[in-house]
C-alpha cells in the first residue's frame, strides 16, 4: 500500500528535510490525489502529519533535557520561531514552558514515585512498605 509506505517514510525520515511532493512522485500519485488519500486514511494531510511527528519527537527531546534549539533542529524544523509557533499551537505551551513542566514532573516522580501509582496497585506489589 503506497500511502502506508509514505507514512512509514515520514516516521523514519522526519528529522531530515522532506519534500512531500517528492513522496507523492515516488508513490506515483499526483500531489493532490496523494494528500486526499493520506487524509482519508490518517485524518490529516501529509504535511500536518509530518508536523505532528516532529512536534511529538521534540516533546520527547525537551523532556529529556535537550535545549530548545537542539530539539527544533534535531527533529527537522529549520527555524526556531516557526518551531515555537507550531509547538505552542499543538501543545498549548511554548517549548521552554513545556520543558519546565516535564522536568518538574520527572523530578516529582523521582522524589516520590508512589504518588503516581494508584494505591491498589502499590499495595498489591508491596510498594507502600
Amino acid at each position: 500500500m503506497r500511502v502506508v509506505r509514505a507514512k512509514l517514510y515520514i516516521d523514519t525520515h522526519f528529522s531530515r528535510p522532506i519534500d512531500l511532493d517528492n513522496i507523492a512522485d515516488e508513490a506515483c500519485f499526483s500531489k493532490f490525489h496523494f494528500a486526499r488519500l493520506f487524509r482519508t486514511i490518517y485524518g490529516k494531510t501529509p504535511h500536518q502529519y509530518l508536523t505532528e511527528v516532529r512536534v511529538e519527537r521534540a516533546r520527547n527531546l525537551l523532556a529529556e533535557g535537550s535545549t530548545v534549539a537542539a530539539a527544533c533542529f534535531g527533529v527537522g524544523f529549520d527555524s526556531i520561531s516557526s518551531f515555537t509557533g507550531l509547538f505552542k499551537r499543538r501543545t498549548g505551551l511554548t517549548p521552554a514552558a513545556y520543558q519546565r513542566e516535564a522536568l518538574e514532573r520527572q523530578a516529582a516522580i523521582e522524589a516520590q514515585p508512589a504518588a503516581f501509582v494508584p494505591n491498589c496497585f502499590a499495595e498489591n506489589h508491596g510498594w507502600n512498605e
Binding site: 507514512k7 486514511i41 490518517y42 516522580i109 523521582e110 503516581f116
Partner: protein, 138 residues
C-alpha cells in the same frame, strides 16, 4: 456512579521489550515511567487519541502479587497466548495492518469481515492478543 475506566493492566514478560513494542511499534505514548525501587517499575502508556486511559504494563515478578510459583505459571499462560486484553480501534484497518506488519507486529488473523465487524488479531511481544477493529466499518 462510576463514570470512567482510567487504568487497565496488561501483564508482560519484560517491561523494556514491552516499552519498545507499545511505543515504537504500536505508536502509543508514555504516560508515567516511575522506578519504584530495584527491579520495580510502574510503566503506563496511552493510545495516541486516548490520553486518559492508562495501560499499565505490569511485569510478572515474584512478590506480593505473585506468590510462590504463580509468577512462573502466569508467565507461561501469557507466553502461550491465553489472554486477550481488549479491542483497539483504528480508522483504516487495511492500512494499519500493513503498517504494523511492516514494523514486525505478528498477526494471527488478517483483516477479516465478521458478522460483528471488520477485525484483525495481533499479539504483543509477550503473547497477549488484541483485536483490532475499524471504526464505522460496514
Amino acid at each position: 456512579m462510576i463514570t470512567k475506566l482510567n487504568h487497565v493492566s496488561v501483564f508482560v514478560l519484560d517491561q523494556e521489550s514491552a516499552f519498545d513494542f507499545y511505543i515504537n511499534k504500536l505508536g502509543f505514548k508514555v504516560h508515567t515511567d516511575a522506578s519504584m525501587g530495584p527491579g520495580m517499575r510502574w510503566l503506563t502508556v496511552t493510545p495516541p487519541d486516548q490520553p486518559d486511559l492508562e495501560i499499565s504494563l505490569m511485569a510478572i515478578s515474584e512478590g506480593m502479587m505473585f506468590k510462590g510459583d504463580t509468577a512462573e505459571k502466569m508467565r507461561e499462560l501469557v507466553r502461550s497466548g491465553t489472554f486477550g486484553f481488549g479491542v483497539f480501534e483504528c480508522n483504516d484497518l487495511n492500512a494499519t495492518y500493513e503498517e504494523l506488519k511492516a514494523k514486525g507486529v505478528e498477526f494471527s488473523k488478517p483483516p477479516t469481515k465478521e458478522f460483528y465487524g471488520y477485525e484483525a488479531l495481533f499479539k504483543d511481544d509477550s503473547g497477549n492478543w488484541f483485536s483490532l477493529g475499524q471504526k464505522d466499518a460496514a
